[in-house]
């Protein structure tokens, strides 16, 4: 097995062009498990940890954030909690401290597992993925990124270089159900972002379908309710029935299965609870204009 260790993005891209079958490895927290269990035998590994361009984040002109694909979760939590509240909350739930020290959003996207914890937030905030190859750069909305179970639009000569996240104009939440209190893969998860700027809301569902999903009906419903009641302008508490209906619509958007981690029926049920609760927290934050309740 070849072990390619480029030290610049240009070298990494040309290596990937020369050897499209080379498997990129960032934190390695997915790749090494697959190798250890002999689920994968790549002819080459492309180590991205020495590519400086991937390991940084910077503000964008429109107030958003360009997050390098290789920035580990620990840094997202410590450096970006205020800029990217939803993503930082999701990052906080990933694995253990060791995993968070190594694991990256680029790797989460590369693996494209429906259970990946960052996806619901990326969907909810309407992030975009920057993909590069020697052919050029393209920016794909994350909502178009996932194409199937552990599949994405990533081409074999491309690398994920960054994730582009819009400015957090309102409260964001992330919540995940697992069957123990830490270090657990999501049975189901939910991300929510309120966008007071354009009066919309964003959602993301994890681990309850072949890909991460949006709850579009729920988004429309809530957007409509908030507009009808002029609630963005004069934010009153949301009624129980609105929160409940939102939860039901989120549950309906899911396409879960029964597996060792949980039943489809439970996943739907839990999603409705998570959606209802996260909406309550986010709206409370919006109303009080207070700090995000960041995990």
């Amino acid at each position: 097995m070849d072990f390619l260790r480029p030290t610049s993005l240009a070298d990494a891209l040309s290596a990937k062009a020369d050897q499209p079958e080379a498997v990129p490895i960032a934190g390695g927290t997915d790749v090494m498990v697959e190798l250890n269990f002999d689920h994968r035998r790549p002819s080459a590994l492309l180590d991205l940890t020495r590519v400086p361009e991937l390991a940084t984040w910077e503000p964008t002109a429109d107030g958003g954030t360009r997050l390098g694909a290789g920035v580990p979760y620990t840094r997202i939590i410590t450096e970006l909690g205020a800029r990217l509240p939803g993503l930082a909350m999701a990052a906080r739930t990933v694995g253990s401290p060791q995993i968070r020290n190594r694991g990256t959003v680029g790797g989460n996207l590369g693996a494209a597992s429906p259970a990946g914890d960052t996806h619901p937030v990326l969907l909810a905030v309407d992030a975009a993925v920057e993909l590069r190859s020697v052919r050029g750069t393209r920016v794909v909305p994350v909502r178009e990124f996932y194409t199937g179970v552990k599949r994405s639009v990533l081409a074999s000569d491309e690398l994920i270089t960054a994730v582009l996240l819009p400015r957090a104009g309102g409260p964001q939440q992330f919540s995940k159900v697992g069957t123990r209190n830490a270090m657990v893969i999501a049975v189901c998860s939910f991300g929510l972002a309120l966008h007071p700027g354009d009066g919309t809301v964003g959602t993301g569902i994890g681990s309850a379908g072949p890909t991460p999903l949006r709850a579009t009906e729920a988004e429309w419903f809530l957007t409509g309710e908030l507009a009808d009641g002029d609630l963005w302008e004069s934010p009153k508490p949301l009624t129980d029935s609105v929160r409940r209906r939102f939860g039901e619509l989120v549950a309906e958007a899911a396409a879960p299965i029964d597996d060792v981690r949980g039943s489809a029926a439970y996943r739907r049920h839990a999603l409705s609870v998570l959606a209802r609760r996260t909406l309550g927290w986010a709206w409370q934050d919006y109303r009080t204009g207070g700090d995000q309740r960041c995990a």
């Binding site: 906080r92 209190n181 830490a182």
Partner: protein, 751 residues
């Protein structure tokens, strides 16, 4: 070669103190040599081809392609087993390598040795096995009473233990029924099965292996290899946890076979997934109970039927059945009892020893029943237990009278009377059900409190000749008296090596004590199971000390011209001079007797251990997530030889019981294991582990060395039902199955 480390570094401290473990610092620093770290120049690697089917006939096995792989040294099947192709702890019913039938998912079919583990695995994948897939027998109750296929010559019942005592037709005004289920728990030790077999010039083999019982391994290896005992020598390698899962063979015969065929040292190490196939698990159980009581809450009768799923091979099922039966009514006085307990063959993974050994399954059921009874009577759950609690002088359902302390009521009162943990304060997600996953900020969270008490037999039972051997050598080294203690008893992480040193220091009044690596050049040490090593090997070490001291005192008479009762270290030096005293002693606990096959009566157990728990939980009743807030335990240990180790055992046992209550289960569907990984077989993390205050009672047992009572298992019995009782208290649900899963808490009808 790297060999098992001599964990000998002398620490100070006699019994009743808590000296540091000699292996502690090494383990914390990651420097301890586990069995998976063994290495030998020129060694080759062995791997095991396992059946993908739970039940299938083997039509043919074709090794041709595997043998062609460069670097392969041997590919073996059952035809290469020189002795008898059978092994087993109690019944030799399990083939070393499958012949024409596989009876469980993961059963070994063939072996490969190659110069690299990758090569071995690649070759293994080229072995062609033609299977005729058969329908698996997967329901234990049906396997006993149904008319499905017989999986073994003598049918599907491994053992049936009945107990009949008192009036079999007793009636009572208050009656509660229940049907309970216990899922398949795994020992989940961290160090996977591994070892190194080195062929010897005398035609024998030296095996370095992580095990719980060197001599029972040796016996089974000899039988399979057709070799006498002096040709099969075992040394204990560093053991990364056991909990019962290393009592049966894993790599032992396989590695020795490969070593003898290749003439090379052979190393075998399972990975995590293979480990789930490579050892027995806790028996899943279905338990039917009926309790009858008077209106003031006194038990009149208990009737029970228990089905323990032993899986494909017997392993220690017979003894597990006896435990579940004889301990199946709990530590309660009840005159009229009826029990039928079956251990059954199915095509599920083999089940055998795991901490608690039959008492765990029964404990969940009888304690759930006691709560049900309390509810039916409108009585406090602790009160109903105290009212029926056994005490010294009580009679077990086997007719055995408890002839030492049995402080059941006191243990219950101790946990009940502890101050309650504080109510939840400011929002800290780590303290919430769901933890840092941010599932609740208090919504839906209900607190519940539950109690349970349990009983476990200590040491081997039913007339088993249960003994240990200790060899003690005393000499002067560097001007100081120095002892070397040698046993074959396995240190599996519990701290036996520390205890052995403590006993020698106390008995001989010297400081320098070295523990010789455990091996088969000394007599049988018995199993590291049944909470027995401090009792039995501790007893043997104490007896060896006494034998050495007797000789020493005789020498002292010659030296001083008069008898002396005690000798200071300086006096020992001058008495010994250049002489060496070495004594080997076999020590047995008091004998037990068999159970009457019809009535289940008999003096079956050596000693009983009792523990009680109070669990306080927060349940998110909408999401079905549980946070155990506190798990208090009270246990009588007779005498705490090493108080810190005692509390460590109680904490560990409690957490293992908590795991069974809320998360730990090997999920098996139609005989197939669905979650053989630590990704999906969940064990508690530190955020699932609550504060665990412990009350330790020391009520000496006059029959046991130092009055001690085995510690390791009792806390595992009562922990599970206490946690579940607390969840019931919070949710009002019946919860008749463990582990309790979120869907049980959210999608089930309230009782």
């Amino acid at each position: 070669m790297t060999k098992p480390a001599e964990v000998t570094r002398s620490t100070t401290g006699g019994i009743g103190e808590s000296p540091l473990r000699p292996d502690g610092a090494l383990k914390v620093r990651g420097e301890f040599a586990y069995s998976s770290d063994l290495w030998h120049e020129d060694m080759v690697w062995g791997v095991t081809l396992r059946s993908p089917h739970p039940h299938a006939r083997i039509r043919s096995v074709d090794l041709t392609e595997a043998l062609r792989v460069p670097g392969v040294h041997a590919v073996l099947t059952h035809q290469d087993v020189p002795g008898t192709n059978r092994y087993g702890l109690e019944h030799a019913d399990q083939p070393v390598l499958a012949v024409d039938l596989v009876r469980y998912h993961g059963e070994p079919v063939a072996l490969v040795a190659a110069d690299h583990p990758e090569t071995a695995r690649r070759a293994m994948k080229r072995i062609k096995v033609d299977y005729e897939v058969l329908t698996p027998v997967s329901d234990a109750e049906h396997a006993v009473h149904g008319d499905g296929p017989r999986l073994h010559r003598d049918g599907n019942v491994v053992r049936h233990v009945p107990i009949r005592r008192g009036d079999q037709n007793a009636t009572a005004p208050v009656v509660v029924h229940g049907v309970y289920e216990v899922g398949m728990q795994d020992q989940a030790f961290l160090g996977p099965e591994s070892g190194l077999a080195v062929p010897a010039e005398d035609g024998g083999v030296d095996l370095f292996v992580a095990t719980q019982w060197l001599h029972v391994d040796q016996r089974q290896i000899c039988y399979a290899l057709g070799l006498p005992a002096d040709k099969v020598r075992l040394t204990l390698a560093g053991v990364g946890g056991a909990f019962g899962g290393r009592e049966d063979l894993s790599i032992q015969v396989h590695a020795c076979l490969l070593a003898r065929h290749t003439g090379k040292p052979v190393k075998m190490v399972y990975n995590r997934e293979e480990s789930f196939y490579g050892h027995v698990h806790r028996h899943p159980a279905k338990l039917y109970y009926e309790h009858g009581a008077t209106e003031d809450g006194r038990l009149v009768y208990v009737r029970s039927r228990i089905y323990l799923d032993g899986g494909a091979y017997a392993s220690s099922t017979p003894a597990v059945v006896a435990n579940a039966a004889t301990l199946g009514f709990g530590p309660y006085n009840v005159d009229n009892v009826t029990m039928d307990c079956w251990g059954v063959y199915t095509n599920n993974p083999p089940c055998g020893a795991m901490r608690g050994f039959g008492a765990v399954q029964a404990g969940f059921a009888y304690e759930s029943q006691m709560d049900k009874l309390a509810a039916a009577l409108g009585m406090d759950p602790v009160e109903v237990r105290v009212r029926n609690a056994m005490s010294e002088g009580s009679t077990m359902p086997t007719g055995q009278v408890l002839d030492s302390a049995a402080p059941v009521a006191e243990l219950l009162r101790l946990v009940r009377d502890r101050p309650m943990p504080a109510e939840r304060g400011e929002l800290d997600l780590r303290a919430m059900p769901g933890g840092v996953s941010n599932t609740t900020h208090g919504e839906g969270v209900v607190r519940g409190v539950g109690y349970a008490v349990g009983v476990k037999n200590i040491c081997f039972s039913e007339g088993f000749d249960d003994y240990s051997t200790a060899r003690l050598r005393l000499e002067v080294l560097g001007g100081e008296p120095a002892a070397t203690i040698h046993t074959a008893a396995a240190e599996v992480g519990q701290g036996l090596v520390t205890i052995e040193q403590q006993i020698v220091r106390t008995e001989l009044g010297i400081q320098q004590v070295t523990v010789h690596p455990a091996d088969t050049t000394v007599g049988n040490g018995g199993s590291t199971s049944a909470s027995r090593q401090t009792y039995v090997t501790g007893g043997a070490v104490k007896a060896a000390c006494e034998a050495v001291r007797e000789k020493l005192l005789k020498l002292a008479v010659t030296r001083f011209g008069e008898p002396r009762a005690n000798l200071t270290p300086a006096e020992i030096v001058s008495v010994l001079g250049t002489e060496v005293i070495e004594e080997t002693v076999e020590w047995r606990h008091r004998p037990t007797t068999a159970l009457d096959p019809e009535t289940g009566q008999g003096f079956a157990h050596v000693q009983y251990g009792f523990a009680a728990h109070r669990a306080v939980v927060d349940v998110d009743v909408e999401l079905g997530l549980v946070k155990v807030v506190e798990l208090a335990c009270a246990q009588d240990v007779g005498k705490a030889l090493n108080p810190q180790a005692v509390v460590g055992q109680i904490h560990g046992g409690s957490v293992q019981g908590l795991g069974l209550a809320v998360m730990e289960e090997i999920q098996v569907t139609e005989g197939k294991v669905r979650n053989p990984s630590f990704t999906d077989y969940l064990i508690p993390t530190i955020l699932d582990t609550p504060p665990m205050p412990v009350d330790v009672l020391e009520l000496a047992d006059p029959h046991a060395p130092y009055g001690l009572r085995g510690v390791g298992e009792p806390p595992t019995i009562s922990s599970t039902p206490a946690v579940v009782a607390a969840i019931r208290a919070a949710t009002g649900l019946a919860l008749t199955r463990v582990p309790v899963r979120p869907e049980h808490l959210t999608l089930e009808e309230p009782r």
